[in-house]
Amino acid sequence: MQDLLYFSQQLINGLTIGSTYALIAIGYTMVYGIIGMINFAHGEIYMIGAYTALIAITGLATLGVAWLPVILIVALVCAMIVSSAMGWAVERVAYRPVRGRHRLIPLISAIGMSIFLQNYVHLAQGSRNIGFPSLIEGSFRFGSSEGFQMSLSYIQITIFVTTLICMTGLALFISRSRTGRACRAVSQDLGMANLLGIDTNRIISATFVIGAALAAVAGLLLGMYYGSVDPLFGFIAGLKAFTAAVLGGIGSIPGAMLGGLILGVGESMTSGYLSGEYKDVISFSLLILILLFKPTGLLGKPEVEKI
C-alpha cells in the first residue's frame, strides 16, 4: 500500500513538471515546424516570463493588492506581454536576417541570443536566486499508511488546469482561426504559402509570439512551484523542454504535449527511486537515445532527404 502511494505521488509530481515542460516545448516545436530551426533562446524567454511575473507580484504586494485572483491574472498578463514582445524581437533581430543561410548560421545566432538574454537578466537583476512566493498554498492529503502521506497540492491542480486551458486554446486557435490555418499552411510549404499570398513573415512572427506567451505561462507556474528564480533558470528547463519536443516528434504539437508528460514522469520516477542528482543525466541520455534510434520521435513525420 505504501509502495502504491509512493508511486502515485511520484506520478503526480512527474505529471506536474511534465505539463509545464509541454508548455515550453510547444514553442520549440512550432518554430521548428515552420522554419526548421531550433530556437535556442526559448529557455531564456521562459526565464524572462518568470522574472516578469515575480516583478509584477512583488509590485502588487508593494501597492497593497492582496486579492489572489487579481495578483495571478496581472502577473500572468504581464509575463505574457513581456515574453511575447521578447519572442517577437528576438526573431526580428537575430533570426529573420539570417533565415535561409547555411544551417549553422541561424543556430549560432540563436546561441548568441541565448547567452545575451541570460546575461541581460543577470546584469539587471543579479545572479542570486530570488524567492518566488508560492501564492497558492495548501493541499489535499490522502491515504496515510505507515507514515507516508500522499498529497496533491493546490498549486499542482492549478498547473494541470492552466496547462489544459492553454492546450485547448492552442488547439482551437490552430484548427479554427485564420492565422492558425495560415500557420499550418506555412509549416507544410513555406514557399508555396508565400506564393498563395500568405504573409509568411507575419505568420513566423506569430509563431514566436505564441510560443513565448505559453513559455511565460510556464514561467509563472514553475516559479510558484519551485519557489525561486535565477538567470540560469531557463537553460536546463529549455533543454528539458527541447528533449520533450524531440521525444514527441519535433514539429508535432500533440507530440510536444505527450513528450513533456513522459519526460516529467520519467524524471520524477528517477529522482523518486534512484537519485535526484542523476535525473538530468537520465533526461539527456533519453534525448540522445531517441535522436539515435528514432529521430522522428513518437508522433513526428519522417523527413525524406531531398536531393
Binding site: 504581464c78 514582445a85 544551417r103 543556430l107 545566432s109 548568441g112 539587471a124 540522445i288
Partner: protein
C-alpha cells in the same frame, strides 16, 4: 509610405520599452525570505528611454540609413579575386609568424608575473579554439560540449598524478589520447545526426560529463575538485622552492641562481607556447591534406561528398577526434597551471566562450581564431569595469557577426595551388 514607416517605428520603439523597462527598470531585492521591489535610478530609466528613441529613429529612417551604409565601400569585395600566389604569401606569412613566435619567446622575461600568467591562459584558449575550429569551422559540426574533452584532459592528469604519481610529460600525451578516445567513442553514434540535433546532443554530453564529475565524489572529489596537481618539470628539475619528488633536483639550485616564483610561471608559459605552436602547425598541415579538404567538402555539401566516395562517418569522426585530442592537450596544461581543478571550470559557458572565439575570428581561419582568442581573453582584463558585461557582449557579438559578417573578422583564405598544364 512615411505613415507606415512611422507606425512601424512607433511599434518597434514600444516593443523595446516592453522588453527593457520591466526587467531593467525594477530591481528585485531579496532580504531574507522577503523580496522587495525598488525602481532603478534615474540614469537607468533615461537610458532605457533613450534606447527606445534610438530604435524609433532607426526604424523611421531605416531606408536612408541602410542606403548610406551600402555606399560605404566594403573591404571584403574580393569575391572574384584569386588568392595571392602561394610561394609569395607563404614567405610573408612565415616571416611574420616566426617574428611573432620569437617575440613571444622573449617577452615574458620583461613583464610582470601576472601578465605571463594571463598569457598562459590565452595560449590555452588558443589551443582550445584551434581544436574547435577543426570541428566547427572546417568540418561544420557544431559541437556545444567541447569543454567535456577539455575536462577529460584535465581530470586525466589530476587523477593520474594523484593515484599513480605520473608526471606532466607522461600525462600530456595520455590526456590528449584519452580525450581523443572519448571523442571517438562519443562521436561514433552521434555524428550521423543532422547539424542542429548534433549541437543539442553534444551539449547533453557535456552536461552529463560535468554532472558525473560533480557526483562521483569517491573518484573526482565532486564539487571540491582535486588539488595538489604537480607542476611540470624540466629534465627532472622542479621549480618549487623545495623538492617534492624523490630523485628530482631543483631548478634554482642546479643553476645556482636565487629561487624565484617567476621561473615556474615563465616555464609554464613557454610550454604552453610550444604546445600552441605545435597545435597550430599540425592543424595547418591537416588543412592542406586530403583529410582537411574532406572536412570542408562535407561542410559544403554532404550529399555531393558522399556521391564522390567520401565516407561521412569516417570524415566527421576524424574531425571530432582530432578536435578532442587538442582539447585534451589544453586540459592537461590547464590542470598543471591551476594546480587545482573542479567541475566549475568545465561548464557550458566555457564551451560557449570557445565557440564565440571561433565565430568571431572567422570559421576555418587560424590567424583569425588566434587573434580572437587573444582579444576575448585580454580585453575583459584590460577593462575590468566592463568585465561583467563580457558574456553579454559575446552573445550580442555572436548574433551581430552571424547577421553581418558570418565569415568572421578574419575570414579564411583559400590556398593557392599552382597547376601545370598536362598533355
Amino acid at each position: 509610405m512615411a505613415a507606415k514607416n512611422f507606425g512601424h517605428a512607433f511599434f518597434c520603439a514600444f516593443i523595446t520599452l516592453i522588453i527593457s523597462y520591466p526587467i531593467i527598470g525594477f530591481n528585485l531585492e531579496a532580504q531574507g525570505i522577503d523580496v522587495t521591489l525598488t525602481g532603478a535610478d534615474t540614469t537607468t530609466i533615461v537610458l532605457v528611454l533613450l534606447a527606445a528613441l534610438v530604435v524609433f529613429l532607426f526604424q523611421l529612417f531605416r531606408d536612408q540609413i541602410m542606403g548610406a551604409l551600402k555606399r560605404v565601400p566594403m573591404p571584403s569585395s574580393d569575391a572574384n579575386k584569386e588568392p595571392m600566389a602561394e610561394n609569395k604569401r607563404a614567405k610573408i606569412e612565415s616571416w611574420i609568424l616566426t617574428g611573432i613566435v620569437v617575440f613571444a619567446l622573449f617577452w615574458p622575461f620583461f613583464v610582470s608575473r601576472g601578465s605571463v600568467d594571463l598569457a598562459t591562459l590565452v595560449l590555452i584558449y588558443i589551443m582550445l579554439a584551434l581544436g574547435l575550429n577543426v570541428v566547427v569551422g572546417l568540418a561544420g559540426l557544431l559541437d556545444l560540449g567541447y569543454v567535456a574533452f577539455y575536462a577529460v584532459g584535465a581530470y586525466t592528469f589530476a587523477l593520474l598524478s594523484q593515484y599513480l604519481g605520473i608526471s606532466f610529460w607522461l600525462a600530456l600525451p595520455i590526456g590528449a589520447l584519452l580525450a581523443a578516445l572519448f571523442g571517438l567513442v562519443l562521436g561514433f553514434p552521434v555524428l550521423r545526426l543532422r547539424g542542429d540535433y548534433l549541437a543539442i546532443v553534444t551539449l547533453g554530453f557535456g552536461e552529463i560529463i560535468r554532472i558525473l564529475l560533480n557526483n562521483w565524489t569517491t573518484l573526482t572529489g565532486g564539487p571540491n575538485g582535486i588539488g595538489g596537481i604537480p607542476d611540470p618539470t624540466l629534465f627532472g628539475m622542479e621549480f618549487g622552492r623545495r623538492i617534492k619528488e624523490e630523485g628530482n633536483t631543483s631548478f634554482h639550485e642546479t643553476f645556482g641562481i636565487a629561487y624565484s616564483g617567476e621561473h615556474k610561471v615563465i616555464f609554464l608559459y613557454l610550454i604552453s607556447l610550444v604546445l600552441a605552436v605545435f597545435t597550430a602547425l599540425v592543424i595547418r598541415r591537416f588543412m592542406r591534406m586530403p583529410v582537411g579538404r574532406a572536412w570542408e567538402a562535407l561542410r559544403e555539401d554532404e550529399i555531393a561528398s558522399r556521391s564522390l566516395g567520401l565516407s561521412r562517418t569516417a570524415v566527421k569522426l576524424s574531425a571530432f577526434t582530432i578536435g578532442a585530442f587538442f582539447a585534451g592537450f589544453a586540459g592537461t596544461v590547464f590542470a598543471s597551471k591551476q594546480g587545482f581543478i573542479s567541475p566549475e571550470s568545465f561548464v557550458f559557458l566555457e564551451s560557449a566562450i570557445i565557440l564565440a572565439i571561433v565565430v568571431l575570428g572567422g570559421m576555418g581561419s587560424q590567424i583569425g581564431v588566434v587573434l580572437a582568442a587573444i582579444a576575448v581573453t585580454i580585453l575583459p582584463e584590460l577593462a575590468r569595469e566592463f568585465s561583467e558585461y563580457r558574456m553579454l557582449i559575446f552573445g550580442a557579438a555572436m548574433v551581430l557577426m552571424m547577421v553581418w559578417r558570418p565569415q568572421g573578422l578574419m575570414p579564411m583564405r583559400r590556398i593557392h595551388i599552382e597547376l601545370e598544364k598536362q598533355e
